[in-house]
C-alpha cells in the first residue's frame, strides 16, 4: 500500500521534473538607445523639435514592463513574469535588459511603456518599482511612466526648464500603452546556445509631435495626470522603432 503510494508520488514528481527539464530557455537582450532624430542624446547637446524650438535633456527615464515575446505566425506568446525595468538615459547598465525566455521562434517583442494599474495600487514595491527611483508621486499615488527634464529657450518657466512627468493609470487618464514591435529580420530562433539581441531606438522629437502638436511654448511642463498627459502619452507611444534583431 505504502509502496504503491510512494511510487505514485515519485512518478508524479518525475513527470513534473520531466516537464520542467524539457522546457529549455534561452536569452534575449533588448537594448534601448535614445536619440533626437539621428543624434544620440548627450547631456550637453541641444536639439531642435518640429516647431523649431531648441531644447536640451538632462534627465530621461521610462518604465518598460510586462514584456512579451511573440510569434505572430503561430500566435505563441511568452510573457515574462515580473518584468519591470526602468530605463535611465544616465545609467548605461539600465539600457540593456536581459531576459530568460523559453526556447522558440519569435518575430516580435511587446511591452508596456509605463506601470500597469495593478502595481499602481499594490502598496510598497521594490527593485525597479522602488519609489526611491524618483518615478513615484507621493501625494497622488501612482508611478510616473515617462520623465523628461531639460531646458529650452521656448520655455517661460523659471530657469527655462522643461519638465514632463507623465503618469496616470485610471480610466481616461491612463498613459500606459502597449508597444508592439516586429523584428525586421522576421523569425528569430532563440535557443540555449543562441541568444538574440534586439536594438530599439527611441526618437524623443516624436514626443512633441507624433500625433498631437505640443510645442514647448504652449506646454513646458506637464506634471500631473489628465488630458494633456494623455496626449503626450499618445505621442510617446510612437517614439520606438526596432533597428535590428541579431544573433549574438
Amino acid at each position: 500500500m505504502f509502496a504503491g503510494l510512494f511510487s505514485i508520488l515519485f512518478s508524479f514528481l518525475f513527470q513534473n521534473q520531466a516537464a520542467h527539464t524539457i522546457q529549455k530557455n534561452g536569452i534575449i537582450e533588448i537594448s534601448f538607445s535614445n536619440f533626437v532624430n539621428t543624434k544620440i542624446i548627450a547631456p550637453d547637446s541641444v536639439y531642435t523639435n518640429a516647431f523649431n524650438e531648441n531644447y536640451s535633456i538632462r534627465r530621461l527615464k521610462y518604465y518598460i514592463t510586462n514584456i512579451e515575446l511573440i510569434n505572430t505566425g503561430n500566435g505563441k506568446k511568452a510573457a515574462i513574469t515580473d518584468s519591470y525595468f526602468l530605463v535611465d538615459d544616465n545609467d548605461e547598465g539600465s539600457k540593456t535588459i536581459s531576459l530568460t525566455v523559453p526556447e522558440g521562434d519569435y518575430n516580435a517583442v511587446s511591452f508596456l511603456l509605463g506601470v500597469d494599474s495593478l502595481h499602481n495600487v499594490s502598496g510598497a514595491q521594490t527593485g525597479a518599482l522602488d519609489p526611491m527611483n524618483g518615478m513615484f508621486w507621493t501625494w497622488n499615488t501612482g508611478y510616473v511612466s515617462v520623465k523628461i527634464e531639460g531646458k529650452s529657450t521656448a520655455s517661460a518657466l523659471p530657469g527655462n526648464f522643461i519638465e514632463y512627468h507623465l503618469g496616470g493609470f485610471k480610466g481616461p487618464d491612463n498613459v500606459n500603452h502597449r508597444i508592439d514591435l516586429n523584428f525586421p529580420s522576421g523569425n528569430m530562433k532563440i535557443t540555449g546556445e543562441k541568444s538574440v539581441l534586439v536594438s530599439i531606438k527611441a526618437d524623443i522629437n516624436l514626443f512633441f509631435s507624433s500625433i498631437y502638436s505640443l510645442p514647448i511654448k504652449t506646454a513646458a511642463a506637464c506634471t500631473s495626470p489628465g488630458s494633456l498627459a494623455r496626449q503626450y502619452s499618445e505621442n510617446y507611444a510612437k517614439i520606438f522603432s526596432i533597428v535590428n534583431a541579431v544573433y549574438k
Binding site: 508520488l9 515574462i80 515580473d82 525595468f85 525597479a128 513615484f136 499615488t141
Partner: protein
C-alpha cells in the same frame, strides 16, 4: 497526498519565476518573525487591508512602531510621524488646526486621527493615496512636513545600529530598503484598532447609555448615519458639507486630484470614533468644539452646486438635541486605545498625556 504534490509543485513554480526576474527584484519578503492575527472587532466588516502581501508579525509591528516614533524620518530630526499623530489625541495633532512641519511651516490640512485604517479605501482627506503602505511617502517628502528624501531615510536607518536586530528579526537579514520600512510602518498603523469605547460596551450589553446619551444616539441615527454609519462611523465617501472655502489655504478638496468641478470642496468623511479627543475639527481644523460642528449642519451650510444633497435643507436640531448628540459622541472615546502602552513610543517609559475627558 494531493496536498503534498501541490506543495512540491508550488515550490517548483516559485523558483522558476524567481529565475526569470532576477534582475529587477530583490528578495524582501523573507518573513521570519512571530505571526500575529489581524484584529477584526466583532461586528466590523471585512477589512480592506488584510496583510496578504505583508504578513503581520510581532517583530514587523515593533519595527514599524519604532519607525513611527523616530525623528530620523524627517530632515532635521524633529518631525517623526508621531509629531502630528499623537496617541493621546487618537493619533491626530492635539490642539492644532494645522500641524507644524520643517522650518516653521504648516501642513495644508488638519492631521487626521489614525485608527481602524484597515477599513479605509483611500488615505488623506482628498483620497490621494490608494494604499496605506505608500502613505508615509507623502509626509516624508513634503517640503512643509518632514521634508526628507526616501534615499536619505534609507541611509539613516541603515547606519543606525539600533535597527539591525529589528530588521533581522522581522525580515531575516539586516537589509534596509524603502519597501521594508513602508511595510513595517503599515504593520503598526493597521494595528491601531479602536473598538472599545463606551458605545461598544453598550452594544455588547456591558454598559448602558445615560438618558441624554441615549437620546443623542437616537438623534444621531436619525440624522447622521447616512455619512457616519456604524460601526466605523464613516462611509468613506467624499462630500461637500457646505463649509465656505478658506481663501488663505485655497484647498478645494478632491478636485485637486481629479480636476473635475463636480469634486469641488469634497473631502473625505472622517470617522467619529474618538472625536472628543481629536479637536480641532473639519479638514482645516476650523472648529474647536463638537457643538460648533453640529451647529454647522443646522445653520452654517453654504449652498453651492457641489453641496451634498442630503444637506440641502440643513439638519433641524434644537439646542437640547445638539447637547445630547454631543454627549453621545463622547461615548465614542476609547480610553484603552488612547492609553494602550503597545502603541506608545517604545523609547519612553510612560505615555505623556494631558488629562483627557
Amino acid at each position: 497526498m494531493f496536498t503534498i504534490l501541490s506543495l512540491f509543485y508550488g515550490t517548483l513554480t516559485v523558483s522558476n519565476s524567481m529565475n526569470s526576474c532576477k534582475k529587477n527584484k530583490s528578495t524582501t519578503t523573507h518573513i521570519t518573525g512571530t505571526l500575529l492575527k489581524q484584529e477584526i472587532p466583532a461586528g466590523f466588516p471585512q477589512p480592506n487591508y488584510t496583510f496578504r502581501n505583508n504578513p503581520l508579525t510581532e517583530e514587523g509591528f515593533e519595527l514599524g512602531r519604532k519607525l513611527f516614533y523616530d525623528g530620523k524620518l524627517s530632515k532635521d530630526g524633529n518631525f517623526p510621524c508621531a509629531s502630528c499623530h499623537q496617541q493621546f489625541a487618537a493619533f491626530s495633532t492635539f490642539d492644532h488646526p494645522l500641524s507644524h512641519g520643517f522650518s516653521n511651516q504648516f501642513s495644508l490640512r488638519n492631521a487626521p486621527a489614525l485608527f481602524n485604517e484597515a477599513w479605509q479605501k483611500e488615505f488623506h482627506l482628498d483620497g490621494g493615496i490608494n494604499n496605506i503602505e505608500v502613505q508615509p511617502l507623502a509626509p516624508i517628502t513634503a517640503h512643509n512636513e518632514m521634508s526628507e528624501t526616501i534615499e536619505s531615510i534609507v541611509n539613516k536607518i541603515q547606519s543606525d545600529t539600533s535597527y539591525h536586530t529589528l530588521f533581522k528579526t522581522a525580515y531575516g537579514d539586516e537589509t534596509v530598503n524603502s519597501q521594508r520600512i513602508l511595510k513595517a510602518l503599515a504593520q503598526f498603523t493597521i494595528s491601531l484598532v479602536s473598538a472599545d469605547s463606551k458605545y461598544d460596551k453598550v452594544k455588547k450589553g456591558k454598559a448602558n447609555f445615560l438618558f441624554y446619551e441615549q437620546h443623542g444616539y437616537e438623534l444621531f441615527q436619525a440624522h447622521c448615519t447616512t455619512c457616519h454609519p456604524e460601526p466605523l462611523f464613516t462611509d468613506f465617501s467624499y462630500r461637500n458639507i457646505g463649509l465656505p472655502p478658506d481663501t488663505s489655504l485655497n484647498h478645494m478638496g478632491t478636485i485637486r486630484l481629479t480636476n473635475d468641478p463636480k469634486d469641488s470642496m469634497k473631502f473625505k468623511v472622517p470617522s467619529l470614533r474618538n472625536v472628543a479627543v481629536s479637536s480641532p475639527y473639519m479638514h482645516d481644523g476650523r472648529f474647536w468644539y463638537i457643538s460648533q460642528c453640529i451647529r454647522h449642519y443646522r445653520d452654517g451650510i453654504q449652498k453651492s452646486s457641489t453641496l451634498d444633497s442630503s444637506l440641502a435643507n440643513g439638519i433641524k436640531l434644537n439646542e437640547r438635541d445638539i447637547a445630547d448628540i454631543n454627549s453621545f459622541l463622547r461615548t465614542l472615546t476609547d480610553t484603552a486605545f488612547l492609553k494602550n502602552p503597545r502603541f506608545s513610543d517604545p523609547e519612553q517609559k510612560r505615555i505623556f498625556s494631558p488629562d483627557v475627558h
